[in-house]
Symmetry: D2
Subunit: 284 residues, 4 copies
Amino acid sequence: MNKITLLVHCKDRSNIIATVTNFIAKNEGNIVYLDQHVDRDQNVFFMRLEAEFFHDSFSTESFKEDFKTNLAEVFEMKWRIYSSHKKPKMALFISKYDHCLYDLLGRYNSGELNLEIPFIISNHLDLKPIADSFKIPFYHVPVTKDTKPEAEKAQLELLEKFEIDFIVLARYMQIISPKLIEKYQNKIINIHHSFLPAFVGAKPYHSAFKRGVKIIGATSHYVTEELDAGPIIDQGVTRVSHTHSIEDLIAKGRDLEKIVLANAVKLHTNRKVMVYNNKTVIFS
Amino acid sequence: MNKITLLVHCKDRSNIIATVTNFIAKNEGNIVYLDQHVDRDQNVFFMRLEAEFFHDSFSTESFKEDFKTNLAEVFEMKWRIYSSHKKPKMALFISKYDHCLYDLLGRYNSGELNLEIPFIISNHLDLKPIADSFKIPFYHVPVTKDTKPEAEKAQLELLEKFEIDFIVLARYMQIISPKLIEKYQNKIINIHHSFLPAFVGAKPYHSAFKRGVKIIGATSHYVTEELDAGPIIDQGVTRVSHTHSIEDLIAKGRDLEKIVLANAVKLHTNRKVMVYNNKTVIFS
Amino acid sequence: MNKITLLVHCKDRSNIIATVTNFIAKNEGNIVYLDQHVDRDQNVFFMRLEAEFFHDSFSTESFKEDFKTNLAEVFEMKWRIYSSHKKPKMALFISKYDHCLYDLLGRYNSGELNLEIPFIISNHLDLKPIADSFKIPFYHVPVTKDTKPEAEKAQLELLEKFEIDFIVLARYMQIISPKLIEKYQNKIINIHHSFLPAFVGAKPYHSAFKRGVKIIGATSHYVTEELDAGPIIDQGVTRVSHTHSIEDLIAKGRDLEKIVLANAVKLHTNRKVMVYNNKTVIFS
Amino acid sequence: MNKITLLVHCKDRSNIIATVTNFIAKNEGNIVYLDQHVDRDQNVFFMRLEAEFFHDSFSTESFKEDFKTNLAEVFEMKWRIYSSHKKPKMALFISKYDHCLYDLLGRYNSGELNLEIPFIISNHLDLKPIADSFKIPFYHVPVTKDTKPEAEKAQLELLEKFEIDFIVLARYMQIISPKLIEKYQNKIINIHHSFLPAFVGAKPYHSAFKRGVKIIGATSHYVTEELDAGPIIDQGVTRVSHTHSIEDLIAKGRDLEKIVLANAVKLHTNRKVMVYNNKTVIFS
């Protein structure tokens, strides 16, 4: 059996759903999931569809070709088709904080995540033992002012060599270079330790403490050139009070960061995220 | 312009979506919303669809006829088609608590609710001034052991006379008679002041206090013959602690009850709820 | 029986609790509640205490005198003592939105709020019928560019005449004058329709929609000269998604605003809020 | 410097707070935290107090003696005094699920938990590699119908040998023997994968799925002889919908279980929990 996931967006107009579902039916596919959304402000149509094909002669490649010619070009669609046979490959970038790393690797180990982790990159050596205990190759790529270009080159080589599909910054404490951002557009997931857009930049828990907020948050988003301003994938919050010190906020925040980042990774790898106008459509 | 909402469920099989969307397209309709769900355990397919028809000759009645003959009977569907022209009519049953009443009437007044309220029934006179101030007819139908049959008769007459579509029990403190339940199946919405199935029956806040739970809840559900066991439409929760007395739980619970009940009413009137196997499918 | 609530803050040092509790004991009082907090960064001690006095000769006034001389001056305390006999008087400022008004008056009516509402002020006439139906005096004080000074004068006269203790802006759509803010420092409660400090200023739901956040919020705070920057009393949040339009955010936000504002009013009238360094200590 | 934490409960009466705080002052202690609660139904007074003693001659043991003679016996208090010098020792009981194990060990490793873990007991060998990678002794104590008495004996020997203070059942899939429960009263923390008292017993996620609830939960509680009926320490909840399969509920529940269990462990080790009448008082 072949199963594909189709993501589509285009200018809204009549009959798109009927045309696409017909196309699937003509190809002897069975639709097992369909969700759609229309942004009325922008007049844009979004659709996510999963279909199963049981005949032996089915080829994802020729299906893609047909779809492109007969539908995508006619409706001027932006589209992607994924085969369920191929697990996405994730590169993990880390620094010194271990909570998101433990959390993701724990989930990975227990089979909760539909992905492969060919390697971990860190600008520090501190967390190598954790990578080792989970038997995942660990590459130490230090980043200093002077070594930035070399570091970027080393990162890119690894990403290409292992055919990485997307990058997760699990509290990686370095700015990602514009070249990487451009190459992996909407494919670099960051976890920011605040309820964005409140408290952008460094030390958000300190700012939250100073402002005396009663709720703190964490935000996972795709990395864009503007810092902490990329499309938001997921957010989580928790209550705090005057009794909590900055250290308490940081500890409570760790739990948010873990869950919100893991959620974003799952949504991304299950092809449930579409990006448009610096915002996300998240299918259920 | 005519707009219809179609709700369908049937045994799952290939091509249902394509067939239905084609049928809409052939009738020159434009699909503006489609959501679907498959219960894999039960092998049941659910769909909700909104379509707009712009040609003058469109008639909801003949569309229904066509749909019935060409699709519903072929796929052995359970189905409903609603025209957006007709607002559902809601009867409010109340007793002595006013918080849900104020809340619903406040929302009604501000245009938040897509419905009509032809009348309010109460077994007590206490809240008549509120109904009066909102200018909604108020009927006093007392219920005692002896007058049960008469009360039921009076209720049924009012419901029929005003062609009521659904009933909301806004903390109505009487058991609904089996006859009413049968006549308005999945059309009587109750708000229960606990996180069901914890604390069924009377005095749930007292039970919650006694058990020392750290979270209390409220549950809106359709009324079935078994008490507090009908299909759940929505639930809400809030944290409590040892510092809260039973009175505090009751006060905190009121806020939950208001919001959860209003939510259920909105979901119901927007035709977003389907019931199957004593559970609900809630479309977004 | 006399019951007092004591709020105190001062530089932290040894033995404050023992000294104060001793003082209560010597005055034959029984402490029924005591909570305290130390801000370690600022080295400030906060305490809230409720005590009951059963002897006939007790006088709140002479107790205050004693407390001032024997404790407050020795420890250089900022302090307030409230008698439970006197309900705080609240002035409601409104404009055209009715949801917070209905909510507060509904709670007031049902006895949930420990306060009096001598009058409602509005710069529009739209909501007068609601004030009338709850039998609360309504004053129409229009505010235009030219009439600002007169309006402020009229407001101040009413506030003084009725010996108002604190003001609640229930979606009042005018900037409060610096004179009022100074006169009612930490006594004017506003509800802002965003999760502050995200989306300060006008149209926060539009900004939230544009940014594509997955959670929206509401914030109640004391009004200070800097807009939306005063000490936060309470915050609430709720999840949203790409399926929600700006109108949906506004509707969902209304429920947050009602509950967060009512919460702030209850905390304030129960003397549970202390302000320090533009932040609040909220006792439980 | 010596720091002690005092927990007290007794029949409520006048002057307890003043007497205790005076006692601390006379011993040249400085109170850094005091919280108290009165259960008005039961007329019981609860207090938690932290005090620091800076003089060299201070001895926790003689302080305890004094407290017992001069206060505890006079007021007929149930009381405990802990020195901050001694970290509580926790035994981890596990079976085959690894999520709570990874979570607790990750927190332990990063210094978030104020405790020691002398060993892990499991009735299966599956998770031994995880214990090994964290360098914590792992004891395999299989439990079958026939070996129950021996297993219990082996467990008790280990608990005694390592002077264990409390036990955490991190999804341990065996019933704890009455002997252990009696010996470690209010010292065995379990995590139950439902919002108790809804769905007691086995397979709660299956029951939640069947009932069609819109919110699922997890509950940490002290183990008592009656299954899933002990005093509740903490609870957490998360929203679910018809789109979630039982497997989805289980996956979402894992995140709740981790956080709720970790919370309970932190509250217990920070001496913030008092048990009375099968309920908990949780100090902040």
